[in-house]
Symmetry: C2
Subunit: 322 residues, 2 copies
């Protein structure tokens, strides 16, 4: 007889009641809880959290799938972990280092019910391959997926980019360069299109020769600035993939005695703590709110309860680099 | 009959051989691998990675236990994930948000063989409670544990702190303030003792009234600087808990027109990328190497192979804030 069966037998309570006590469900009488807890102690029973809860059919674990852990995704991860915990869910982080097979293990864990749902931060397998797993549990994505089966909480970066462009032009900057992220990403495509159409619409020059790609870190930003400075014609402003890149550009500009913003205006993206501390103009990206929405999307399935989704907006934060 | 048994039967190979093919072990003939793989496909068999490998008794998963994910532990995590992957192990991150019960679930997973080993980054349960789990698999710690059962790869922070103090004194700074981390942590205690004994030994003033605690982020650093500036007597130098705090202090000093390093020298800790970009003098902390050693400590048990441990050292990196 398993210890679980023994607890049922000794307590005289049903499988459902014993299960509810083990899973800390509130829907059980104090008397039953006391008696069952006492017998659990007596039998030295340690509930195996890994077993699927009998009352809910859930493991109360959510997996986050990411190819790497970096500063940019920390905000999202931390907020997601917090929200999930408020709903009684624990978060496991699956890191694939860009390996497709290893990434699939998270999805196999969804199939085998080791996790109740998944959040994709960044993935390397093709979305069409991953969507097959939707039948095993809810999956949401932070990355833009380009398919409908896996809903995404991503925002259209073009919106935020346009805010930055309007701000720069309103301040009189017209020769605007770009330090983009990954060339092939949907975010970069969206930003590039926003830039090109905005410039054309406003009769301003499109500085295609000044496009720089894969500018993520502050070191990347430093190099981007060195390349800009070594060119024949310094742009008046530069839009960055994120705040780290902007900090690198800002720091290198200072070293080269390029006055910011008089000779070069800099706009970051995301509004991380350091951009405030260092005074970098940026686009506030409601990342934490997107993480909350990601959990709420899972909860709509897991808790069978739709929560109202707030409409999220980018916002320009003007500081001293413009 | 389980699919596994069916594969055994159809292929005519033993349990061990089938298991080795499933687990991508190299110790199997090409012929056997081909035949077994074909039958697996034919039966639409998806290996359940969660099952303990029959040939090794391992799940090839390691858990990282942390109460929060922040920038400081990212370097460690990323290097650990990389090293583990080089040895064929996947890393799962357990985040407890400071909840003792949730933290224990990682240890229960070690007991139930869902992970083969654990690395503690920071933990909230008392080490005496956790050491009971050592019998289920190897556990190492990055945090200093204060007990011998759970080995730690932590370095004695006093060493690094003394390097910073010697540097400052050699440059003529004698009134040295401290922006510490968590007051009760062993690291802080170790740094405070290093500071006090160094100052006393050198006949220099111990500025106890200038101790500030819980200074972790760049925002914390800003506030620490404001408090220093509002005091009657600005110290000549400040030693920081980490580079983020140092960046906050440096940035706020600039806003207050306090010249760095002429009026105030600043020394960070860890040597993160941004400290190089922004020119902050700091103590290089070989965090990535500690992560590698953490995995090697686990591997000594899991792979039954001792790897030579390199002696790690702190190093002073002089930049423009001293």
């Amino acid at each position: 007889m398993s210890k679980f069966d023994e607890i049922m037998k000794k307590s005289g309570y049903s499988k459902a009641t014993v299960s509810r006590v083990i899973n800390h469900s509130p829907h059980v009488s104090d008397e039953a809880r006391q008696k069952i807890t006492d017998i659990m102690k007596q039998l030295n029973y340690i509930p195996n959290r890994n077993a699927v809860s009998l009352s809910t059919g859930q493991t109360k674990q959510i997996g986050i799938v990411t190819s790497a852990t970096n500063e940019i995704i920390l905000t999202f991860m931390n907020q997601f972990i917090d929200t999930a915990m408020d709903f009684g869910f624990q978060t496991l982080i699956y890191t694939s280092r860009g390996d497709k097979e290893i990434e699939l293990q998270a999805f196999e864990d969804l199939r085998s019910k080791r996790v109740d749902g998944l959040v994709i931060m960044t993935c390397v397998n093709h979305p069409d391959k991953l969507k097959a797993y939707c039948e095993y549990g809810p999956i949401v994505s932070w990355q833009r997926m380009g398919n409908d089966e896996i809903p995404s909480v991503a925002m259209d970066q073009a919106q935020g980019y346009r805010l930055a462009l309007e701000h720069l032009v309103s301040k009189g900057y017209t020769r605007i360069a770009n330090a983009f992220g990954r060339a092939e990403s949907l975010n970069t495509q969206s930003r590039r299109e926003a830039y090109e159409s905005f410039m054309v619409d406003n009769g301003l020059p499109v500085l295609r020769e000044a496009y720089q790609y894969s500018i993520f870190s502050s070191s990347d930003g430093e190099e981007a600035m060195r390349r800009m400075a070594s060119g024949s014609d310094l742009p008046q402003a530069v839009l960055c993939s994120n705040d780290y890149a902007a900090i690198g550009i800002w720091s290198e500009a200072r070293k080269q005695n390029i006055r910011v913003p008089e000779q070069l205006a800099i706009v970051g993206f995301d509004d991380i703590e350091l951009s405030r501390v260092l005074g970098i103009t940026t686009i506030h990206n409601p990342i934490a709110e997107q993480a909350t929405q990601a959990f709420h999307r899972l909860w709509a399935v897991l808790g069978k309860q739709e929560l109202q989704a707030q409409q999220l907006e980018f916002q320009l934060i003007e500081r001293s680099t413009t």
